[in-house]
Symmetry: C2
Amino acid sequence: MPTIQRVEVQDIRFPTSRELDGSDAMNAAPDYSATYVILHTDADDGITGHGLTFTIGRGNEICVTAVESLATRLEGHSLADITADMGAYWRELTSGDSQLRWLGPEKGVIHLACSAMINAIWDLWAKREGKPVWKLLADMTPEELVRCLDFRFVTDALTPEEAIGLLKRREAGKAEREASMREHGYPAYTTSAGWLGYSEEKMRSLCREAIAAGWEHFKQKVGGNIEEDRRRARILREEIGEERLLMMDANQMWDVDEAIANMRRLAEFRPHWIEEPTSPDDVLGHAEIRHRLAPIGVATGEHCHNRVMFKQLFQADAIDFCQLDAARLGGLNEVIVVLLMAAKHDIPVCPHGGGVGLCEYTQHISMFDYIAVSGSLEGRLLEYVDHLHEHFVDPVRIDRGHYQIPDAAGYGVTMKASSLEAHRFPGGSAWQ
Amino acid sequence: MPTIQRVEVQDIRFPTSRELDGSDAMNAAPDYSATYVILHTDADDGITGHGLTFTIGRGNEICVTAVESLATRLEGHSLADITADMGAYWRELTSGDSQLRWLGPEKGVIHLACSAMINAIWDLWAKREGKPVWKLLADMTPEELVRCLDFRFVTDALTPEEAIGLLKRREAGKAEREASMREHGYPAYTTSAGWLGYSEEKMRSLCREAIAAGWEHFKQKVGGNIEEDRRRARILREEIGEERLLMMDANQMWDVDEAIANMRRLAEFRPHWIEEPTSPDDVLGHAEIRHRLAPIGVATGEHCHNRVMFKQLFQADAIDFCQLDAARLGGLNEVIVVLLMAAKHDIPVCPHGGGVGLCEYTQHISMFDYIAVSGSLEGRLLEYVDHLHEHFVDPVRIDRGHYQIPDAAGYGVTMKASSLEAHRFPGGSAWQ
């Protein structure tokens, strides 16, 4: 097994704000960006490990600085030593340097940077095993998998022993579920028609195209003017009909009481869930909103920064859907801890997609969840947004509203060299 | 009123790890550091605004990068425009650039950077008014004060109208309380004897010196080996006797059940509170610990990253003492929102001191809280740590275990030019 010799980091940005792709009430004009990490080893096999954390433009340089500050904590480690006890290495990287830990702990820029690095290790590991990450995980024994995890601060909700027990109970049927994924793919919903910055005409034509392509589940951005939100909901319901699902996403725009009042005015459009109704830190606020808005579901997670926050969302019965983010949590190890807690609490995981590279990550997470952790598709839908996939060597493949199982080895976010070159900030050609 | 023309930022570090000052179970060897901000204006009065955020060494460069990324959002603003509606400016700096907000939101590196900048504005404002910050605040009308605040995400716990009402009810007696502060100062406790890295001999001699200097309240670091914690508690109780208060601080070392088990083994030493028993994000965990450990108090806050987290700590009856941090919250504006919520919930605020500059900040916060917000000293103790004060132009003054009221204009963290020069990282003489 090779030794990681150098952590390369690049500031990669896409000028998406020019078309208002990804526009919502909180994030009016994002430039989808990646703090992009490449792990170089001493092996002569040409394999490198690729990971990214997602940001929306300005500030990406701060995450780049953070990766540079963390790099020496990874350089010089052998992949074998890391993977032999990856739970221990994970804690070492995220918390082992108490001076760097102070900047979070386990949140914000420093945790985002850890995520890119951790995911790059998984990519390297899976590429060397010749497997996609979902398969690398699904083939582990429960004990091997749990050894990759750090249960610090969540043992009151889930112990390693409980996790092993849960995984063992799911071993029956794994092969059938893997075969089912290969045949049918993983069900998804699309956010592409509902961005706040799009005109009525653009929304209608995108809806029609999506329905023709087989989509059954749609998401609308809300949180602007409430009358405008209602007008756009009406347009979407006209286009998608009464049977298809309509989700709504407020992107944290409301206070608790405001969320309840506004959603009561949107209830006639029968939203399946309200996503990010308020501050992502407000566990008790989400519980209050959920209690008062039932049967409208409450979803959150893309800004939920670590397993301790998700633990509380589960303990407080605050959410109906867990929308963990593959690059805001501290990489795949922490994602798996959240999958396990969600399974124990019987909360469906519908990961946050979109941005750049998030869909490429989350297909591995949801397929692994179905095959080995929750064993269920009930209430599960994987977010799909059709931006920027062309920049990846092995982009996601969608058919009739379902993610098709990824076959390429690794964690999916390896970008084309030409795309990296063109979108390097500020020197790349896309920024001239 | 002047216009802020330039935001200067410096990476200032003190090699405190050489003596294990500040050592605890989580933070074994901190180098107390400051991301140090100086606001330069177009006025020819020589007045500059100074603010800092506190870190413990490595990673300070990431906060410096974040200030540089935020600087253009402050440069070019007139102080008059900012102070005319500082609540609005506060939201603009912390959340107005959605691309930068993504990196938090309102947490981690980006919020630490905002804190240094916001506190520098308060320093500039107070210096121009010729008042210490506590006095600038205490002299405002309730309406003027509330206009400095942003209640986003906390209106379910406290509205601006409620805040005005609370402040109005405290107007009676303000002059007497200010006079009392001038005469008696604000009661404090000392952490100086209890650091984890100190020998028994050093602990004993520091206790004796502290008692001779009039200290009545002591804090011990715990969270290492439990037998060792017990041994050190016994030493401290021997030295301070049965009547003086002994606090304990675990610096987040324990899981929830572990905290309860360990504190039951330390209960015989009658701790006044257990501070940071577990993850700072674990609101429900703190509530559980408090419920099961009563009558031992639960304290936390130095890593509590924003008003939304404190709101929940209050709502969940999770803490007995609120230990807000002047430079981890988004500067003084957010601190005041927390003071108001704490007063409403009748929770004493005992701010986090120590590090570099935190005591210089918190004296203003606690004196203002007593004079104008809570109106009470019951259960309140201000932390004091006797490190690094010699580097400030107007250091805190302590007499018989009480902070003496600061008279110098500003927010107290202006460092001597010679100290800045010597501790600039990595070029300063302290690092050669």
